[in-house]
Symmetry: C2
Subunit: 327 residues, 2 copies
């Protein structure tokens, strides 16, 4: 008999998630039936979308999320023992699956870490790839601003914009992140949104205005970027992390004033929109990594017991690159 451990969603988040909102419980799994397999988590993902999606999640269910897992028992020939998968199994150590839904292949065996399937070679990498290229359609020579620039998505967005020949300005909240963005990822400039001269620095950094804005944060940071945007600027809205933990109570200046006068196009997206092109994005990012044009970093937390801590640290901006938990 296999015992799984899992986090059950017990209480709707109010502001920043509290440890007592989730309960870590043990569950005895039934025997594996024909067509099923048992997978054991190796790496688990913590992402901003989990906080955003929580209000629509039922209490009593396992908290949502993807993981890289290894098949350890199988009665399904498509998933033999030893195979690795990316599964939308939630926050749990062991999962019985029939292999039908929410399973993606691990596409990065060639010398790259398995955990990248949760980052640059997985959902966040595709979020950056499609969200920037399809919605902003950046052209060489244009100025691209990315907020949440040192996160799993933002750090890839900026690098893709550089590959496309753009001038790239990254916005994040610590100078350590900024150093990484400029020195290792070749961003043209970093601006710390916590600086009291943030708006002035942003103006100086964008002498030709801003053509594309990849927005992970929302709020006044985004208004300051819109203030700098050129006519017909494009905004890809990937997230609004500055509002996730405030219950919608954060009040900001109205964006419509910028949207009209500058004729901006702002579009939100969920990466599932491009499910039919999923492997295109992952293969392209992998190619750029192999060519040395794209770098990545992971903030790795050890231990399934530390899932909650890793989650909240990430929400508070404690991660550089992709936040991952090693089970």
């Amino acid at each position: 008999m296999v015992k799984a451990r899992k986090y059950v969603f017990r209480k709707q988040f109010d502001g920043f998630p509290k440890e007592s909102d989730l309960e870590l419980v043990e569950e005895e799994l039934p025997p594996v039936k024909d067509g099923e397999f048992l997978a054991e988590a190796i790496y688990l993902s913590v992402d901003p979308y989990m906080r955003a999606y929580a209000p629509r999640l039922s209490l009593g269910t396992t908290f949502i999320g993807s993981q890289v897992a290894k098949v350890v028992e199988s009665k399904n020939p498509k998933y033999p023992v030893g195979k690795h998968v990316v599964g939308e199994f939630g926050w749990r150590t062991h999962t019985i699956s029939d292999g039908k839904d929410g399973i993606f292949p691990v596409l990065n065996p060639e010398g790259l870490p398995l955990s990248l399937s949760l980052g640059v070679l997985g959902m966040p990498g595709n979020t950056a790839y499609f969200g920037l290229l399809e919605i902003c359609q950046p052209k060489a020579g244009e100025t691209v601003v990315v907020s949440g620039a040192a996160g799993a998505v933002g750090s890839i967005v900026g690098q893709i914009a550089k590959i496309k020949g753009c001038t790239v300005i990254g916005i994040a909240g610590t100078d350590e992140k900024g150093k990484w963005l400029v020195e290792e990822l070749q961003f043209d400039r970093f601006i710390n949104y916590k600086d009291k001269d943030f708006e002035k620095e942003l103006k100086e950094a964008t002498p030709k205005g801003v053509d594309c804005y990849f927005d992970n944060v929302g709020g006044e940071i985004s208004n300051a970027v819109m203030e700098r945007m050129n006519q017909y600027g494009r905004i890809s809205v990937c997230g609004a992390i500055s509002g996730y933990n405030s219950g919608g109570d954060v009040k900001v200046g109205m964006v419509q004033l910028f949207v009209v006068s500058k004729q901006l196009k702002m579009e939100g997206f969920v990466v599932r929109r491009w499910t039919d092109r999923w492997f295109e994005g992952i293969e392209q990012n992998k190619k750029w990594i192999k060519e040395g044009k794209m770098r990545y970093r992971e903030t790795m937390t050890e231990g399934f017991d530390n899932m909650f801590k890793a989650f909240v640290d990430m929400l508070k901006g404690g991660n550089v690159g992709k936040a991952v938990v090693k089970a």
Copy 2:
């Protein structure tokens, strides 16, 4: 010697425009030279964009705006005496022009009032036509919400959406406006944003959600509409009148939270974008009027001396349909 009267922009608006921000002065016009003509204002337009644009307008210049004028003296064969033109001459009674810039033909002589060239058969009509059809791309059976619904633009937007087979909900601020929208313009429903149950009424009025939103106002009204929008909803942002008189100080909930989760597309526009298709919009609106499918109303103020009053009344929502001043 002809004496023109004109309104000079003397003081930048702070909140709602004050009468002392503009000065009504007399100006002696020089003789008409070869290639020029003298036009006398018949109808003058007051529009929300004038308030929005004012911060970028230099003090000491004539306040901006269009008028229907009649050529009363001419040394330009293209503009013979007696011809009517729509000119971007600003708030003035007499204008000498060389006919090169900012002049549109009057396209509605066939039994329709000349003043419509400032409304449904002019810039506001084209704003409605292109702003709705090009940006929202409404499909038959979809639900379309229009704010500022009883204004020069909103009232046309709603009627075009009805012609295209949509369910149309108009938002405005008086029940008299609502009566006109529903009883005469065939809107499916009117909601008064001043009602304390506004959000509840909006929810009841949109059982299938909202697919398209034509936004003239911005602010919390627009957030309430976004709350009701369906996945992949489209928002055409024409104006943000709720923010024009507040110096950007109105604070509202952040739109990015809706934009991401519902994958909304929000686009602002200025109607000049479609200058190359200008006559298409006007001819189509005229056709719909002739066919009895489109109605219009004007709120007419008598006298050039009352320009300022008409302007502020319009900004406060005092008009039904197009606000026009008869010189």
